[in-house]
């Protein structure tokens, strides 16, 4: 299985290369081989997988973190992976013609292949972390595909939106996984079976469940995160068909289905899922009423169906879980086909507005037939596979009036949408912005196959899908079933409801112009995308404000903050810990020492307040000389000497530089001066106290004694300080002289360049 | 005995240094400040430093002390001259009671010649 996934990525990497040497069509055909082979390979495994023992594969990756490639193939993953590879093959074929006029098709195929590989990774993973990794990759490849027509701002906007929404969801998902791990100690999905009790009881399980669901909901465009999906229709149509109806958006459904047996132990799980699904199905359906773009209609109905699927998981009943597999399969088949046919219509007529299209069947017989069959399936008319799905759906909801009503209304609107998207353009009076003819073979073969399958699955459900659904059920519930799929259940309540649904749907269709022209107040704040924009711009505004406040360009402000933090923190510890206890003040200084102190004090006051630049330099010299003198008093002649020399040289440098600088004219505001004085004085006081306190700690330096004992004997020197500099710690000195050398180079560099400028 | 001599040298030296310090504060213009300070301090320091040389009673130390004194004697007047000249050219005012200024005449003549 890992091989299949890797093959997908590899073919993605090779796609641009292949495209370089071949035409679009040939490239598409070549690349279609990969999903086709995967499909065949998976079919070959189907026997084993369906026999009840999942096919398992494990390759170590980061064992220390418990993250490995762990795959397994059971009913659920088999169904998903066959959809992915199967529809994938058709999409490649379709694209190879559809994209003929596009640029950068190499990249397109690359993205598409990689997407397919990532998606396979998601559904085949049996390890939450592996799943997560592929999950993120699907978001990413989807980003690239949505933004494929990246010269349009709308495309870039939509791509980023999809990425951010699903990315945020992904991060929530990750957080959920981590918390779940901290409860269970495993990332392995099957191993979760042993922790159902813990998951039911542990208080951390609730946040874990909610976070994981956030991941699933964003990915599957559940309310209120659904808004990115219709925007994602900026992508070329094959992408919409593949990602945004048949596969990627189902990843969320897959995730919920996959975890349902284990996490449903927690009461939050099913509740949240059920109602989210319920709201999503009706809400999205309602929005689809107001659309006049084939792709948008299909997009919203997709969201609606995703709601239904979510809802079915949430019900978590014996029947709803069986229904889930059927509905998912049926939807993938008809919706992918409808997307493709609407793409073909667009390709052929240049329009996607169903109000402006009609009677295309004659001109585009193959496409039209496929669309009609798919629409039939979508509406749920015998003998299409969609019929079974809808019957089963109704059976699942009859126990609750609210569910049933909502389900019914949704189904009515879906019927209407199917009529708009799959019937209206092809039947009735011919209507098209331009001359039309049938699309190339490769473009109708895909929808054709899908439509055929919708029919075949409907006619012979048990043969085609029976095993799959039963095993899928087993994966979803953990229980075996001998349920037999049947097209015809006889005349029952569901059938009658279904008939009413269709009639109401047709009714709506007839009223379509009225509905479309109905004035619905445009209330911004009920649109979730409004919140996305608000949040997006809010973050930008906050970031600007924050930057304006923090990184405001004022060096003085930076200094203030840094000093407050750097000295405030130690001072806090020092004072709260009473570090100043037990201080020893030493002998009283001699009178001449005090005089030196006074000189420094006066000088410092002058340095701070002087208006004359020159005075300040002189005073700097005074301070330096006085400190040198202090070094003499303290028994450090080398230090004093060096300080004398350095001080003088520094003064010389100041003198050479300073007359080119202006006088001290800029005076800061009084409040700043007060603030700065407070900071400065408290810093000084802290340093003084800390010095005395540190001094009072008894310390015996081994180094001092060692140097005193050995400087002459081992290092042949009597001036211990110098011996330290050139021998004991010569490495310091080597670094130190390097610093000096670099400084000289720096001065040289600075001088040089401005000479060039002044020319 | 030698301690007495040293004491005298030290106190005299300190006295001269003090004098020059007072002089530099008291004198009314820069030139007289320099006149009164540079020399007095040089003398005072020389006295003190030589006292130190005697005190340590070591020829190496003494030679160093002589070097310091000699160096002071050479550099102090050069520095004073340079500063005095600079101060004058800078336009530092002469004391109001200064009787005459032959230098000014010279400079004015020089400037005329340049023009």
């Amino acid at each position: 299985m890992l091989v299949s996934v890797l093959a997908g990525f590899a073919s993605g990497a090779l796609a641009p290369l292949i495209r370089k040497y071949f035409s679009v069509q040939v490239t598409g055909l070549i690349l279609a081989i990969i999903p086709a082979s995967i499909f065949i390979y998976l079919s070959s495994l189907a026997g084993t997988a369906l026999s009840g023992t999942p096919v398992i594969e494990k390759v170590n990756w980061v064992p220390a973190l418990g993250i490995n490639f762990e795959f397994y193939l059971d009913g659920l993953s088999l169904m998903m992976s066959m959809l992915i590879s199967g529809i994938g093959t058709l999409i490649f074929l379709y694209s190879s013609s559809y994209l003929a006029k596009y640029e950068d098709t190499g990249k397109f195929f690359a993205y598409l292949s990689m997407f397919m590989a990532a998606m396979l990774g998601v559904v085949l993973s049996s390890n939450l972390m592996t799943l997560f990794i592929f999950w993120e990759l699907t978001s990413l490849t989807s980003f690239l595909l949505i933004g494929f027509k990246h010269k349009y701002e709308k495309s870039r906007y939509s791509a980023l939106q999809a990425l951010l929404v699903t990315g945020t969801g992904g991060i929530a998902f990750l957080a959920g996984i981590l918390i779940l791990y901290s409860i269970t100690g495993t990332y392995s999905i099957p191993e979760l079976a042993g922790f159902k009790d813990v998951i039911a009881r542990d208080e951390l399980a609730i946040p874990a469940v909610i976070l994981i669901l956030l991941g699933a909901f964003t990915k599957s465009a559940q309310f209120p995160f659904h808004f990115w999906l219709p925007n994602a229709m900026e992508a070329p149509t094959p992408v919409s068909a593949y990602l945004h109806s048949a596969t990627m958006v189902k990843a969320g459904i897959f995730l919920m289905a996959r975890l349902n047996p284990y996490l449903s132990a927690n009461f939050v799980w099913s509740e949240v899922i059920t109602y989210t699904g319920l709201v999503t199905m009706i809400f999205a359906a309602l929005i689809s009423l107001k659309q006049n773009d084939l792709k948008k209609i299909l997009a919203y109905t997709t969201v609606s169906v995703l709601g239904i699927l979510t809802f079915l998981i949430g019900l978590n009943s014996d029947y709803s879980l069986k229904t889930l597999g059927v509905f998912l399969l049926a939807h993938s088949l008809y919706k992918a086909a409808l997307f493709l046919t609407s793409g073909s219509v667009d390709y052929a007529t240049g329009s996607r507005d169903p109000f402006k299209l009609g009677g295309l069947l004659k001109k585009m017989p193959a496409t039209g037939t496929a669309a009609l069959i798919s629409a039939v399936s979508m509406i749920g008319i015998l003998p299409a596979f969609g019929f079974i799905a809808k019957e089963m759906f109704y059976t699942s909801v009859t126990f609750n009036n609210l569910f049933m009503t909502t389900g019914f209304l949704t189904a009515v609107i879906l019927t209407y949408a199917a009529l708009m998207a799959g019937v209206k353009p092809f039947l009735g009076k011919f209507q098209s912005p331009k001359e039309t003819s049938e699309t190339p073979v490769l473009m109708w073969i895909g929808p054709g196959v899908l439509a055929t399958l919708s029919l075949l699955f409907g006619l012979f459900p048990e043969i085609f899908a029976g095993g799959l659904i039963r095993d899928n059920y087993k994966a979803l519930s953990g229980l075996s079933t001998s349920y037999i799929l049947k097209l015809w259940h006889g005349v029952n309540f569901e059938l009658i409801l279904s008939l009413i649904t269709i009639l109401c749907g047709i009714g709506l269709y007839l009223l379509r112009n009225k509905i479309f022209n109905m004035k619905i107040p445009d209330i911004k704040f009920i649109k979730p995308s409004f919140y996305y924009d608000v949040l997006f711009n809010g973050v930008l505004t906050v970031s600007k404000l924050q930057t304006k406040f923090l990184q405001n360009g004022s060096l003085r402000y930076y200094f203030v903050i840094i000093i407050l933090f750097s000295l405030g923190l130690p001072a806090f510890v020092f004072f709260t810990g009473e570090g100043y206890k037990n201080v020893y003040l030493g002998e009283i200084p001699g009178i001449y020492e005090i005089v030196l102190g006074i000189i420094v004090l006066i000088s410092v006051i002058v340095a701070v307040s002087a208006k004359s630049r020159f005075l300040v330099i002189a005073i700097l010299g005074v301070i330096g000389y006085m400190i040198s003198l202090l070094y003499i008093l303290l028994g450090a002649p080398d230090l004093a000497m060096t300080q004398f020399a350095v001080e003088t040289l520094t003064v010389v440098l100041f003198v050479l530089v300073i007359y080119k600088l202006p006088k001290f004219l800029t005076i800061s505001a009084v409040k700043h001066r007060i603030r700065d004085s407070l900071i400065a004085i408290s810093s000084g006081v802290f340093i003084t106290l800390l010095m005395i306190s540190v001094y009072s700690v008894e310390m015996k330096s081994e180094m001092k004694e060692y140097f005193g004992d050995n400087s002459y004997i081992l290092a042949n020197g009597r001036n211990i300080v110098n011996v330290i500099l050139v021998d004991f710690r010569a490495l310091d000195t080597l670094g130190e002289i390097t610093v000096l050398g670099i400084a000289a180079a720096g001065v040289f560099g600075l001088m040089k360049v401005l000479k060039k400028d002044s020319k | 005995m030698s301690e007495t001599i040293l004491s005298v040298m030290l106190i005299t030296g300190a006295f001269f240094i003090l004098i020059s310090a007072i002089g530099i504060v008291k004198m009314p213009d820069i030139f007289m400040r320099m006149s009164s300070s540079t020399k007095a301090s040089t003398l005072g320091i020389a006295l003190i430093v030589i006292a130190a040389g005697i005190f340590f009673n070591d020829i190496g130390v003494f030679s160093r002390v002589v070097l310091i004194s000699l160096f002071l004697l050479i550099t102090a007047p050069v520095a004073a001259h340079m500063l005095g000249k600079a101060a004058y050219l800078e336009g530092d005012k002469l004391w109001e009671n200064t009787q005459f200024d032959r230098y000014k005449e010279y400079i004015e003549k020089e400037e005329k010649e340049i023009k």
Partner: protein
């Protein structure tokens, strides 16, 4: 003991002189005034460390004095140079 007192006394006088000189450095008013003050202060420093060398009976401190005597001169000359260059540039 007595001699030590003389040394401390001398040090104190020198210290006092330094304080007085500091007044001139701060007061100015001209740059030359300040430089003269600084020059005198450095000279006093020299005396100070010579006396302190005696007080601590350690001749090594005198070596610092040599450096000071050599170097202080250069500082003063640099100031004079500065005054000249400034005049030229203005």
């Amino acid at each position: 003991m007595k001699f030590e007192f003389v040394l401390v006394f001398t040090l104190s006088i020198i210290g006092l002189s330094m304080l007085i000189v500091l007044y001139r450095i701060i007061k100015g008013p001209s740059i030359a005034d300040r430089v003269v003050g600084l020059d005198l202060l450095m000279a006093s420093t020299l005396a100070f460390l010579a006396v302190f060398a005696m007080l601590s009976k350690s001749a090594v401190f005198l070596d610092a004095g040599i450096v000071l005597s050599l170097i202080a001169f250069i500082g003063t000359i640099a100031f004079a140079y500065y005054l000249q260059v400034r005049r030229k540039n203005e």
